[in-house]
């Protein structure tokens, strides 16, 4: 029998095998993100895997898994096991400020809330889980909330800001790969999605489900598993968490009036129309019977030159004030729990001139949230503003 190898035949066999394996994978379409060494070999992460930019993952020991909710949750400590019976579970939704863009994983707001040592009225210990994800986007938060309901939260703390409610500022990297899930949520809860690519995207085709088409996602999932070793070795997941990375926050702001593509206050009504307020209603409906407490998250408020024009690098006063007023009225009209903490923290609680707090700021905010949480933990309704307001004093 001849043992010689015909190169073309060999190539043909390799191609056929490659195509067959791809088709088999696409047909099977396994939830590969659920396969995880976290909570098995590595400890679960205290917040979702995320890296600022492709080149930063080495610095963060972390990758962004925007395409994979299974991968995000299976890496998180919330997936460590069934919910303990003695645990009162709070989940935090929000953007990079809630994720902790400038703090270590054990210094975030969720960690600080857990560290408050609260107990529920029936004696359960309060544990807060950080399910925030960088980049403000309420639609992305809805996707995370829907998935998180399988983990039986007792209370949802949803930190939002103007950028997150604005329909032109959505997290496309997250929404596009999860478009079918988002469309299902929208359909179920009668949510009108903005005219964006994720609103009319069909479910993944056979080709899109093949490993070769999903290679970036699979690579990120694999890297996330490997980085579990670095997480175990260091408990470090954020390259910007060291004090040297914290900018000296400039007191001055620019004199520009624009917010995104709105040039000036004349566009106030257009701005208001663009807010995705209805997403908050959907969140409230989805989470039932758990309560959803919405917090307008604290922002850095500049104290120097041009402070009468802008609050900070992100927001001119006219736009942010319009947003606050609209949101407060809307929440009041729907009787949803809402707290406006926009000015609750002094500038030196921030690590940059946007919304990112330093460890001191996280602890400060947790202490301000304590009375609110206590009220809701014991299922009492409590509406109003905080007794102390930093900016109310400085604005006078």
């Amino acid at each position: 029998m001849s043992t010689s190898i015909h190169p073309l035949r060999l190539l043909l066999k390799a191609v056929v095998l490659f195509v067959a394996l791809n088709l088999l994978f696409a047909w099977w379409n396994p939830s590969i993100g659920k396969l995880s060494l976290y909570n098995l070999l590595w400890p679960g992460r205290l917040r979702f895997p995320y890296s600022t930019a492709p080149g930063y993952h080495i610095r963060d020991y972390n990758v962004a898994l925007t395409e994979d909710l299974d991968g995000l949750f299976s890496s998180h400590i919330i997936s460590a096991g069934p919910k303990p019976t003695d645990e009162f579970r709070i989940i935090l939704l929000g953007d990079s400020a809630a994720w902790g863009g400038r703090v270590r994983a054990d210094e975030t707001l969720a960690a600080q809330i857990t560290a408050l040592g609260l107990t529920s009225c029936d004696g359960r210990r309060v544990v807060a889980y950080n399910l925030a994800y960088p980049w403000p986007s309420v639609l992305r938060d809805l996707l995370i909330l829907e998935y998180a309901l399988d983990y039986h939260p007792d209370l949802v703390l949803w930190l939002i800001t103007l950028n997150g409610l604005h329909r032109k500022n959505e997290d496309m990297e997250f929404l596009l790969p999860n478009a079918d899930r988002l469309q299902r949520i929208a359909q179920t809860h009668r949510l009108t999605l903005p005219a964006a690519p994720y609103s009319r995207r069909a479910p993944p085709s056979l080709w899109e489900r093949t490993p070769i088409a999903q290679r970036k996602r699979l690579k990120n999932l694999l890297m996330n598993q490997i980085y579990g070793l670095m997480w175990t070795a260091t408990r470090h997941d954020n390259g910007f968490a060291t004090p040297s990375d914290h900018a000296v926050v400039p007191p001055d702001v620019s004199d520009k009036l624009n917010y995104l593509h709105y040039p000036n206050p004349d566009k106030r009504s257009k701005l208001i129309d663009s807010l995705l307020l209805d997403a908050i209603r959907v969140g409230q409906e989805m989470a039932k019977p758990a309560s959803v407490v919405v917090i307008n998250e604290p922002i850095f408020i500049a104290t120097g030159k041009n402070r009468e024009i802008r609050y900070n690098r992100l927001y001119p006063r006219w736009a942010y004030d319009a947003y606050r007023q609209t949101l407060a009225e809307w929440m009041d009209r729907h009787a949803y729990p809402y707290y406006d903490l926009w000015n609750a923290l002094p500038p030196d609680d921030f690590a940059n001139d946007l919304v990112h707090r330093d460890p001191k700021g996280e602890a400060h905010l947790a202490s301000l949230l304590r009375p609110i949480l206590q009220k809701f933990i014991c299922r009492q309704s409590f509406h109003g503003i905080l007794p102390h307001s930093y900016a109310q004093e400085t604005d006078r």
Binding site: S4, H6, I58, R235
Partner: protein
């Protein structure tokens, strides 16, 4: 080189390997194009650095080749092909600046006088019946000087800023420095020919053969470093390529790709870095990250070597092996005989052997001291080849001392412990122990290799022992 580039080069090699007529010329032409293509695209370096590689190669050939071989008519044809290739690259950059994969547009006003000057120099060297004796050492010194500049970041920055300012008229300032792709390996090959020429050992070769040896595209960026006489022999009579060879070539290429782009790239994620020294929560993690770095280095480098050997085989040339399971060797001497083999052979031939011969000739030093000096000096030079820093020098000292101690221990053990009565299990245990110890010793040296300062390396050692 990324996966796409490697796949393209594989296709080119598969086609080129089937060419029979004009094979050295075709191969030379492709290699010349490839060195422009692979050089990172930043003007003006993406033109000037590959061009300097070609100029140095041409000088190397003119200096090392006997006059009667230099005057063969085929060399004129080879030179014309090279200049034609250069012209085509320049034209493509001029007329298709966006589309050309080779280089950014170049100022001909600056290039043509330099080219003319170079050609006059080349002809000046080539015409006399006897090459001046000072030329080989002159080129050796030039290559070493370039080495010195390229391996020192501050010298690189300053000299490239100076040269960049002369080569461009960019009003925005001088261009940023850029790595010179493949220079190290090119220099090793040229130095080998120059030294062997001085020793009268170099066979005469044509221009096309010499250029192919120097810039052979499969091994241009990461070796291995072949010897001229062996390479030219297979260039002249390519190994026959049987259908069965496809399997071994594909195996070699896929193994290389897997080693480099899967194993090494994943190990890179968990390898030691400056921040990790202080972030690691326990010494065990530092041990692990050092071992990961060592393994990563191996898989990265041996992966590239597998790819180079696979491509070379497609072209009918068997490039030398560069790795032979180094982490399975029971002592450091055997490890260094199996790690980056062609580089260590080069240093043995051109540094260690001449140095120890010279020291022995003086008859003033004991053999052990000569060995110590030879090994430390050779390993320090290998270290400094990676960069002119204290870290790489210390890395060299670490390995030089390790080799010396291991050599002395082997001598001692041979006299005192060698007995045919030792049970095979004990021998096997000693072998496994030696292998582990060698791996640990090499991994520890990664503290010098991977970290940016000696202080960090010493901090790692303290932390490994739980002392910091």
């Amino acid at each position: 080189m990324g996966v796409v580039e490697i796949l393209i080069l594989t296709a080119i090699a598969a086609v080129l390997g089937r060419v029979r007529r004009g094979r050295p010329l075709a191969l030379m032409l492709v290699s010349a194009l490839v060195i422009y293509w692979l050089q990172p695209k930043t003007a003006p370096w993406d033109f000037w650095l590959p061009t300097l590689s070609l100029f140095l190669t041409l000088l190397g050939w003119a200096i090392t080749t006997p006059p009667e071989t230099r005057r063969l008519p085929e060399n004129a044809l080879s030179l014309a092909v090279l200049l034609g290739t250069l012209g085509a690259i320049l034209l493509s950059a001029r007329f298709f600046p966006e589309e050309t994969p080779f280089t950014s547009p170049v100022s001909l006003r600056r290039f043509l006088p330099i080219l003319s000057g170079f050609l006059v120099l080349l002809i000046g060297i080539s015409l006399p019946n006897r090459s001046p004796r000072l030329l080989p050492p002159g080129l050796i010194l030039l290559l070493l000087a370039i080495f010195l500049v390229l391996k020192s970041p501050s010298l690189t920055e300053r000299s490239m800023a100076l040269i960049g300012a002369l080569l461009t008229s960019n009003p925005d300032g001088t261009p940023a420095p850029l790595p010179w792709l493949g220079f190290s390996y090119l220099a090793f090959r040229l130095l080998h020919t120059l030294r062997d020429r001085q020793a009268g050992l170099l066979p005469p070769v044509t221009l096309a053969e010499y250029v192919n040896y120097a810039i052979f595209f499969p091994s241009f960026t990461a070796g291995p470093i072949d010897r001229l006489e062996r390479f030219v022999k297979e260039l002249r009579s390519p190994l026959p390529f049987q259908p069965d060879d496809w399997l071994s070539v594909l195996q070699r290429l896929t193994t290389g790709l897997f080693k480099k782009f899967v194993i090494a790239d994943l190990l890179a994620l968990i390898s030691i870095n400056d921040r990790f020294v202080f972030q690691a929560l326990a010494p065990g993690w530092l041990w692990l990250s050092l071992a990961s770095y060592a393994l990563r280095l191996y898989f990265d480098f041996s992966g590239y070597t597998d790819i180079a050997i696979g491509l070379g085989r497609l072209l009918g040339i068997r490039l030398p092996e560069n790795f032979n399971a180094p982490f399975l060797k029971p002592n450091l001497t055997q490890f260094w005989n199996a790690w980056h083999i062609t580089l260590t052979q080069w240093f043995r031939a051109y540094v260690f052997n001449p140095l120890t011969r010279s020291l022995r000739a003086q008859r003033a030093l004991p053999d052990a001291l000569i060995l110590l000096i030879g090994q430390v000096a050779t390993m320090v030079l290998i270290g400094l080849w990676h960069g002119l820093t204290w870290n790489f020098a210390l890395w060299g000292v670490w390995h030089g001392l390790g080799l010396f101690v291991q050599n002395r221990w082997s001598e001692f053990a041979r006299v005192h412990f060698s007995s045919p009565d030792i049970h095979p299990w004990v021998q096997q245990g000693l072998r496994i122990g030696g292998t582990l110890l060698t791996f640990i010793y090499f991994s520890l040296s990664m503290a010098f290799f991977a970290l940016s300062t000696p202080e960090l390396a010493f901090t790692v050692f303290l932390r490994l022992l739980g002392l910091a």
